[in-house]
């Protein structure tokens, strides 16, 4: 191939190097006028697709209650052991609910396994990717932060039903 050169194959003009520099500069200059592929992040936000695995959240039904039945499967499968669930009984139809449900967002690796195994479609990955904390305590998300109205995660649930 003509492009493959070794030292001995270089022509006189290529050895002089000056014309090659000019050619290279012309090429880089040309690229300057091509459309940019970067996004100026804080001003322009990245909008994730439905398949995006952001922060895991608990699905809240329209009646304001969580779907979770505190079976503990998600906390069993979670590879970095980020989930803590404590169950209690409830007179509702589902019989059990989590009194305490915590995800340690410092430990979470966003693998999506919790969502993969949940038998109730109760925990799903949201599109939230802007996570920052100033202390370790703050990073432990309880039920107050995890519960998300089902409308906000409908996108993801549709994706799961269609492709998983």
């Amino acid at each position: 191939m003509s492009l493959r050169r070794r030292k001995k194959d270089l022509t006189f003009w290529e050895k002089i190097y000056i014309p090659e520099i000019v050619k290279g500069l012309a090429l880089t200059l040309k690229t300057m006028f091509k459309p940019k592929y970067t996004v100026e992040y804080p001003e322009v936000k990245f909008i994730p697709p439905a398949s995006y695995r952001g922060r895991p959240v608990l699905v809240m039904e329209e009646n304001g209650k969580e779907r979770c039945v505190a079976c503990g499967l998600c906390s069993r499968v979670c590879p970095p052991l980020a989930i803590f669930v404590q169950a209690a009984e409830t007179p509702d139809e589902k019989e059990r609910y989590p009194v305490k449900f915590e995800i340690n967002m410092i430990r979470c690796i966003f693998c999506g396994f919790c969502e993969d195994v949940c038998p109730e479609e109760a925990i799903v990955m949201s599109k939230d990717y802007e996570l920052a904390f100033s202390s370790r305590e703050e990073a432990i998300y309880g039920k107050d932060k995890l519960l998300t109205p089902i409308k906000q995660v409908q996108d993801r649930i549709n994706f799961l039903r269609q492709y998983k």
Binding site: R6, E20, G24, S51, Y52, L73, P79, E121
Partner: protein, 417 residues
Amino acid sequence: MEKLTKDDIHPKILEALMRTESRYTVEDALENEMILNMGPQHPATHGVLRLLLRLDGETIVACVPELGYLHRGYEKMAENMSFYEFIPHTDRLDYLAPLSNNVAWVLAVEKLTGIEAPPRAQYIRMLICELSRIASHLVAIGAFAMDVGAMTVLLWTFREREKILDIWDILCGARFTNTYTRVGGVANDIQPEALAKVNWFIDQFDDNLKECEQLLNKNRIFIERLDGVGIVSAKDAIDLGLTGPTLRGSGVEYDLRRAKPYLFYNEMDFNVITYKEGDCLARYFVRIDEARESAKMVRQILSKMPQGEVRLNSAKKVLPNKAEVYTKMEELIQDFMIVNFGINPPAGEIYSAIENPKGELGFYIVSKGEGHPWKCKIRSPSFCNCQGLPLMMKGHMVSDVVAIVGSIDPVMGEADK
């Protein structure tokens, strides 16, 4: 820089450095030969690789790579978790091609369990393997060019790689730590948008790669810094156990995709790229050509991809379908059993390897019939390729060190495990 004394160097390393008989001193560097400590915090060693160089003037007399700065004990960790839970950990081995590692791991587990994923899942796996090969080679080429002083190419190859990461974003929802494959299939079917994006990427990839090549292939500085540097003969390469582009750059035609076809590689039409010179430039050419070859293969995969299931329907071995878990009792129990006790493969040992971008990535698993491996050994290509460094370095200049390290493209996450 602080002065190195004899006590700072591990006795074994010191012995290896001093094996050739000659005058030396560690205490007074200027007097005779000197020991130079390069890394682990060195921008050009591609991660935390530490190289101890014994120098005579500017010429390298001996070189000892020291590994282990990124050791996280993955082999031991594998013994304490189920086969399923280990999938995210494989992302963090070769972090430039996480999907390849995912595929390697599940193929090993499937071989141990004696199951096989449906054809569509296998085609998807092939697709992601080839795309991640392109992504990894792009980083290798860009970083390699930057090691020898060309900055622009890095930005361009990263732009191309960014497009592949965008495909991952649509396909599996994460750019880097993908965790996409599952035992018995893949996590989710490939969406039409992802396929469209792959098509678009492949169409424009060739021109963009050519642009990068134009900056390097006739560039006198680039060529003169690499031509004839770090030569490994075919025999030495085989003896040292080098694999991947490093081996093929020495003229050995060995590629697991051809030698021991896995997935559906026996149906693919591709060339195994070899260059006979065995120097840094040859390894660079191998990577460029392999990226093209992979793009060619992606086209074939797209045209041949069959329809159908992406996850095997096998009770006790594979997580059941979600829709059935929600409605049926049998599947619900299965879901609980697999998560709690794992898939229990029959007792035995297997070795399964695939051709990763860096070389042969193999998993050796010993099972005692439990839900977790009894022992797991990772044969990582970067680790084995680093063995070639002492041989390649001998007789070259200090400034060639970065070129040689860049040309074998080690990823320390994988070398240190």
